[in-house]
Subunit: 128 residues, 2 copies
């Protein structure tokens, strides 16, 4: 028996198990705003106000909440600069960058397949 | 000027634009149950009852709704067999398989990074 980590996961993580913590990891990186924040941060580190401008439709509250969740999970690094007016920069951690590359791939794929999906929806709606 | 498709997308799809249809594509494949259904179907085609058993915590209603959304988007093929009792099989389309490979990668990544994330959450909670 070996104890190598402070956090011990006794069973193999499995997203299909309702109570497995891997499910919350997956949900945080695939949440509506989580995906877009990670993808935006992948380009480079950004200020809060820049993220708000880039990500259409996100409220200040939802952006702050999403960034906090991602920071708590260890994906985003938050740096508050002691200047006037206060400035806060966000950047990806090493592990956050891995997640961001995966979700950014999904975002690009979704953009590329819009014509296919719209055609399929039209066909489906005419059929049903 | 050329018209090559019945569905014409005038602007370049961009998930950061609040009204771009690419955002709904992304949201359907990254929805809580969408991810898990696509990943489960990647293994092979499955019956409704099998999917319900594999994906912990999904209700009959949510599974049916998720499958219908994915079918409408052209990611899932539904085949009803005229037998008694009725049997319905689901499988991925070619484009659905592409999406499934991407989200399945995210699911596996989430499982692999559970220890990192749990350690980060503990550290964050002690700090704040």
């Amino acid at each position: 028996m070996s104890v190598s980590n402070e956090v011990t996961v006794t069973e193999q993580p499995n997203v299909n198990a309702a109570t497995c913590p891997s499910r919350s990891v997956l949900e945080h990186i695939t949440s509506r705003w989580g995906v877009l924040v990670l993808a935006a941060l992948l380009e480079d580190g950004r200020r809060f106000s820049e993220l708000r401008r880039i990500i259409g439709g996100v409220s200040e509250k939802m952006l702050a909440q999403t960034l906090q969740t991602l920071e708590r999970d260890g994906f985003v690094h938050r740096e508050a600069h002691p200047v006037i007016p206060p400035r806060v920069d966000y950047s990806l951690t090493e592990v956050g960058e891995q997640a961001a590359r995966l979700v950014s791939g999904l975002a690009r794929w979704s953009e590329a397949h819009v014509p296919d999906v719209l055609a399929s929806r039209e066909e489906y709606d005419n059929r049903t």
